[in-house]
């Protein structure tokens, strides 16, 4: 029984509208299409949800209010009142990743959060932005972030490089966490789908497992968007309050 598995095929970027400017390939791809859809869906929920501003909210308005309050409370609990001025950024980030993950779960869809370059670009923006906020608010005093309080001088020689390294590694862990979750989840779904398709009646077993994994992926999709947003909040808290 030949088993042909190509579970990573779903992550291939295909150009829909080929376009070249000079040496650069700026084609409109399936990845770009899904990003556009995600932005449109999020915008639609927020715009339609706030259009009527009914006292008793309808379905879409409830969804918008739920997301708004969820992110608002998250920032309040982790950063405090000073964090509210960064609310638009974190709300956008959370909704974009959430709908990227959820749209990727639609069969024959495409998950752009499963591309390392997409997640790394978002993590790099968070990292650079948070560092700039820290420097802007504290000036040179920001460097005291890397020096733990109440530690003997001899240990500082060891601890400061570790703190510095753990700070610099943040964009990588932040991006790889989201990327690896999406990659592993979708690959797992595709592998069990391949089993189900290739072994006949016995294939009902892997199919059932696939359905269970799908629910796990649904949980992971929401959870990873939450984790990305709350870690952004925690980094922001570090930059604003310095320990």
């Amino acid at each position: 029984m030949a088993l042909k598995l190509e579970p990573l095929e779903q992550f291939v970027i295909k150009p829909i509208v080929p376009l070249h400017i000079g040496k650069f390939d700026v084609s409109f791809t399936n990845s770009a299409l899904l990003m556009t859809i995600a932005v449109l869906v999020v915008s639609a929920i927020v715009v339609i949800g706030t259009r009527r501003e009914a006292l008793v909210p309808g379905r879409i308005q409830s969804l918008g209010e739920l997301a708004y309050e969820f992110v608002g409370n998250m920032i309040d609990e982790t950063v405090g009142a000073e964090g509210q001025r960064y609310f638009p950024f974190i709300f956008t980030l959370f909704m974009f990743i959430l709908f990227g993950n959820l749209l990727g779960l639609i069969p024959f869809g495409y998950s752009f959060t499963g591309q390392i370059i997409v997640t790394f670009a978002m993590a790099a923006v968070v990292f650079i932005g948070v560092t700039l906020i820290g420097i802007w608010r504290h000036g040179w005093h920001f460097l005291s972030f890397f020096v733990p309080h109440g530690v003997p001088f001899v240990l500082l020689v060891l601890l400061v490089p570790i703190e510095l390294l753990s700070y610099l590694i943040r964009p990588f862990t932040l991006s790889i966490r989201l990327f690896a979750n999406m990659l592993a989840g979708h690959t797992m779904l595709a592998i069990f789908g391949g089993f189900a398709a290739s072994i006949g009646v016995l294939g009902l077993l892997p199919l059932g497992l696939d359905i269970l994994i799908f629910f796990l992926e649904l949980l992971v999709a929401v959870l990873q968007a939450y984790v990305f947003a709350i870690l952004t909040c925690l980094y922001l808290n570090d930059a604003i309050h310095l320990h």
């Binding site: 790889i176 966490r177 592993a184 690959t187 992971v220 959870l223 984790v227």
Partner: protein, 73 residues
């Protein structure tokens, strides 16, 4: 050794990373049940799921490497 078999062995070794994730996720939910059994009013479930996601991600790094070894030519 055939390169193909070396790839298979490598993918299997990369999956050992999931041991740590399993232990970590078990610890997280054991602690959650402990906390909720002692104090049912404790508001710790969001933190437990945050810990679950963080612990799971470390194992998935290894799993992703295994997939990359196996399926990327």
């Amino acid at each position: 050794m055939e390169p193909e078999s070396a790839k298979m062995i490598g993918a299997g070794i990369a999956c050992i990373a999931l041991v740590g994730a399993g232990i970590g996720i078990g610890n997280v939910f054991a602690a959650l049940i402990n906390a909720l059994a002692r104090n049912p009013a404790a508001q710790v479930t969001p933190f437990a799921f945050l810990g679950f996601a963080l612990a799971e991600a470390t194992g998935l790094f290894g799993l992703a490497i295994a997939f990359l070894i196996l399926f990327v030519s």
